[in-house]
Subunit: 340 residues, 2 copies
């Protein structure tokens, strides 16, 4: 690398002290306007950049927020990032996004890299493998070191920190209740394995709606998708059960269910009604378009970063972790019969 | 924050020198096994973490690569990240992703934050507003400071650095040629304003294919989308021209064209054939599914980070910027007639 211009060089060139240069560059009122202008002009001319690492060592604030997401291609997480960005920018923070790829080891490492002084705080949604392992010590260590942390969407009780979650039980209930109300009698559920907390909660909502309507839960109607295997093949089994309604806990499962229904010559929504989760582009551009649970990812992101910045900027306060529950809406489209 | 344990504390507690502790923690062969074990056990017990900022100040290598993308929700960019991740992980690098949101000012700031010592190098696709402004001084400064930079997809000649691009002219040609070959006679082009380099190049390919087949380019058949306005309304104008083929330079434009065609009662592909760009989930899950140009984002990402790491690790070499052109494929699906 080329030699960079430093505060020392500037001081020497202009015959002032380094502390004068430093103060002038911070626009301090202690330095007279003329001197300040001269120093700033000189620094600009030679493209002076403060050595951010040295600065950080001194005050340990980076004004950067780290975000760790489990997946790269995912509409819901993208909307959460947009929410985080919108509030962070207003408050003068930058965000850096890293991905765990649902992998425990990668999550541990990423957490280590980011918590080593690069960021002031972290916003994380936990990787599936970590949820399956139930080893949360990397998060617990972080909390013990008082590094501000907010978990969202996929959270666990073992980690004592602020959390933002969707009302997943309520969402599962809302979707299933709607299917019952429009006359569906055999409603299939396409969900995740039990260790994925959001899938398990949405299933609770599904069961709650069935019980309320005196419909017995039929285990054959519940498919827990193993994403390492062919998703479509697993969903095809469900269609052997003569179902007339489907609630899928994400967009990809819903789109696959729709494709299978079409291949079987079923009319959507007359023969079968389908509800998905996550109001993404697939749901919007499919035909028929897919009725879905909208999770308000943007709002979640904004709230998450709001809590985090509050934590970062009020270090001294007594720590009472908050949990904010965001309710979700059913967005009616063409894949379900209209309510009568 | 709680008091962190330092090398000094460890040295004092164990009655050894700080340099012994430092070497032991780096697993140096200069220190005997017994001492090393003792020091490492002590450090682990008290959850010692090296102060990465101090370390970085010393060796100026972070093993982190910064990536700046123009958009958050975008399938192509997501696949590029996956490609970057795959090779970076193999080489022991972490990646941090930031977003310019197509905004010039945000791009300038993000570049400043990342280039201040947080990363060893940068991979960037330029924001639309920057391309429109034609002010690339923030990139040129970076290159002058010898900070390794690789541009991909949206690149400009003014910046002297490594570049990875899709053969956009070739892709536009391939798509249009296919439409001509299956018998389309009035082919509409849905593209970006001219300042977006990739749109302009794909248009060149479109025109090249028409000229070769002795078809006169008709300006009324070319729509340049202003994304700040209603996209669908702008595309609707095109359908007043009795077109029988459409080439759209991205997935969203193609999905909108398909929706309009359906609303007008046109049969796809018999009345009109549609080709999009970017092999994303919308193209895959639409019905009919959309024939598209696959850009091989994964390959682009891998190649970009390969070039970057080469630059980072061989600082002393003479700098000859490389430009790698990745060719793209036409992925045939249901929205186009089969070739005869």
């Amino acid at each position: 690398m080329k030699q960079k211009i430093t505060i020392k060089t500037i001081a020497k060139e202009l015959g002032v002290s380094t502390s004068t240069v430093s103060k002038a560059l911070k626009d301090s009122h202690e330095i007279g306007k003329e001197t300040k202008d001269k120093i700033q002009a000189f620094a600009n001319h030679y493209n002076y950049k403060p050595n951010s690492l040295a600065l950080q060592l001194r005050n340990q604030k980076t004004k950067v927020i780290g975000v760790i997401l489990p997946k790269i291609v995912h509409h819901f997480f993208s909307t959460v990032i947009m929410g985080i960005e919108s509030y962070a920018n207003e408050k003068g923070y930058h965000i850096m996004v890293c991905f765990s790829n649902e992998d425990y080891q990668k999550e541990v490492e990423t957490l280590r890299v980011l918590s080593n002084g690069s960021v002031d705080g972290l916003i994380v949604s936990i990787a599936n493998e970590t949820l399956e392992n139930k080893d949360f010590s990397h998060f617990i260590d972080l909390v013990e070191e008082d590094i501000p942390l907010v978990l969202f969407d996929r959270v666990v009780d073992d980690i004592l920190c602020d959390k933002i979650v969707v009302d997943d039980v309520g969402a599962g209930y809302k979707a299933t209740k709607y299917l019952i109300d429009i006359g569906c009698q055999k409603i299939g559920l396409i969900t995740t394995p039990d260790h994925v907390s959001v899938g398990a909660l949405r299933r609770l909502g599904y069961e709650k709606a069935l019980i309320e309507s005196y419909i017995k839960t039929d285990k054959n109607l519940i498919i827990k998708i193993d994403e390492k295997q062919d998703i479509k093949k697993q969903i095809e089994q469900l269609f052997e059960q003569n179902i007339d309604g489907v609630f899928a806990v994400n967009e990809i499962y819903a789109a696959n269910a729709m494709r299978i229904a079409k291949e079987k010559g079923l009319n959507i929504p007359n023969d079968i009604s389908i509800i998905g989760f996550t109001d993404g582009l697939i749901s919007e551009y499919s035909s028929p378009s897919i009725t879905t649970i909208a999770q308000h990812g943007f709002t979640m992101g904004r709230q998450a970063v709001e809590l985090l910045i509050e934590r970062i900027e009020n270090e001294q306060e007594v720590f009472n972790p908050k949990k904010i529950v965001i309710s979700s809406d059913l967005k009616l489209r063409e894949s379900t019969k209209p309510s009568s």
